[in-house]
Amino acid sequence: MVALDNVTLKIKRGIFGLLGPNGAGKTSFMRIIVGLSRKTSGRVEVLGMDPWEEGEKVRRKVGFMPEKPAFPPHLTGRRILELITRLRGYELSKSLELADVLGLRRRIDSPIGGYSAGMRSRLAFCISLIGNPDLLVLDEPVANLDPLGRIRLLSILRERSKDGCSVVIATHSLRDVEDLLDSAAFIHRGRILDSGDIGDLMRRYMGYQPEEKVTDIERLYMGVMHEKAHDLDEI
């Protein structure tokens, strides 16, 4: 089965959204750019390196948050943070500060087996930030979070982006990220339908004027899908 087919995409600095229906190939794309999966053909470069062949170097500069993070259930949040912090050569105090900001303090010494899906997502996000990566790859980061968790996560992303960190987000929660995205790509059945700056896309598909700053990402999503995808029943 082909998960991604004929995908040509250049992601610029800033916050980039990978948007598409279920099974479109978003997760496969992300797993390839973090070096968890191997491409069968083509060329992938992340920060100028091949993520599979030079995985160690790439992963030092990339933080990844999977959609369904899995942790050893018997270990505590603190133990996991200690391990990752040491592997990344970072300072534990800074990792624990991050955990505090993300609201993990209360449960940090409890086994992860007792964490809710939201707490696991917070921990996974915290882990992805360890070591100040140049690129953050987040697969459905807000899916399991409560409103406060979403606000914290999104504000951290804004801060990191201002500090020069690039962010790639795959999400269905379009409303949550519509004020966040600088550029986006729309993916369907493993193919990129269109991509570009949000402003350009809004002008092309929604007829917005350059001076208009209003972003309605849900309408944009439907606009691109209607025009480019031929099997709308599946969207």
Binding site: L36, K57, R59, R86, R88
Partner: protein
């Protein structure tokens, strides 16, 4: 070192040691007749010298600790490995700036550490248990052979689990099939030792032993390569 500590923490959450000790406690009340008989089938020609040196040790400690060590450790480690891959827990490590091979190496080293510890402990316990009945002679060679065979079996179990998992993608099934494959030859009295007819010469003992060692090393190398291939090429894809 960081990874090994983490792996040991992971592996020792299973009551491996407790299970082995329980088995040894039960085994110490019954004489190890069956095990010594099965070992005697190997005590011909090439093996005569080895068996002379190690038979007592094998009867006392190897026979009581080898089977539970191999079965219990292999099953728990294989299940743990397959489960880690299936649930995606292994990705926590694969996403860190370390070589994929290092993750596998840390697993093998921590498993080896556990197996060696259990074997040494069980050897001591068995010796203590039977000391009043037999004169116990544990030579370094016999100990090394015993440790080596245990490690080989655990590695075989890991390789089989990984290989089956790569095809079936089901942790429980992979573990079961790997274990059946591992245990069946033990029941059929087929040892994980290479065929003795590998080398024949005038100095049968020396060359036979040398040949056997070479084959065993080759088997280990093959298993390591297989594990590395499956781990780096299949896990996470």
């Amino acid at each position: 070192m960081i990874l090994m500590k983490f792996e040991l923490e992971n592996l020792t959450r299973f009551p491996i040691l407790e299970l082995i000790l329980l088995f040894l406690a039960i085994a110490s009340f019954s004489p190890p007749v069956a095990a010594s008989a099965s070992f005697s089938t190997l005590g011909e020609e090439v093996y005569s010298r080895i068996s002379f040196i190690v038979s007592k040790y094998f009867i006392l400690s190897f026979s009581t600790s080898y089977v539970p060590t191999v079965i219990v450790t292999s099953s728990l480690i294989a299940a743990s490995l397959a489960f880690e891959i299936e649930t995606g827990q292994i990705e926590l490590l694969l996403l860190q700036p370390i070589r994929r091979g290092d993750v596998l190496l840390s697993k093998i080293l921590s498993i080896s550490f556990i197996v060696v510890s259990i074997q040494l402990l069980s050897a001591l316990l068995s010796s203590a248990t039977y000391y009043h009945k037999f004169v116990v002679y544990i030579s370094p060679a016999s100990l090394l052979i015993s440790l080596y065979l245990s490690l080989l079996s655990v590695m075989l179990s890991m390789s089989l689990t990984l290989a089956i998992f790569a095809v079936l993608k089901r942790s429980l099934l992979s573990t079961m099939v790997a274990l059946i494959a591992l245990i069946s030859p033990a029941f059929a009295n087929v040892k994980f030792l290479p065929p003795r007819a590998f080398l024949r010469a005038t100095d049968l003992d020396f060359l036979g032993l040398l040949g056997d060692t070479c084959v065993m090393l080759l088997m280990s190398f093959f298993l390591l390569v297989l594990e590395y291939y499956l781990y780096t090429r299949r896990v996470g894809t």
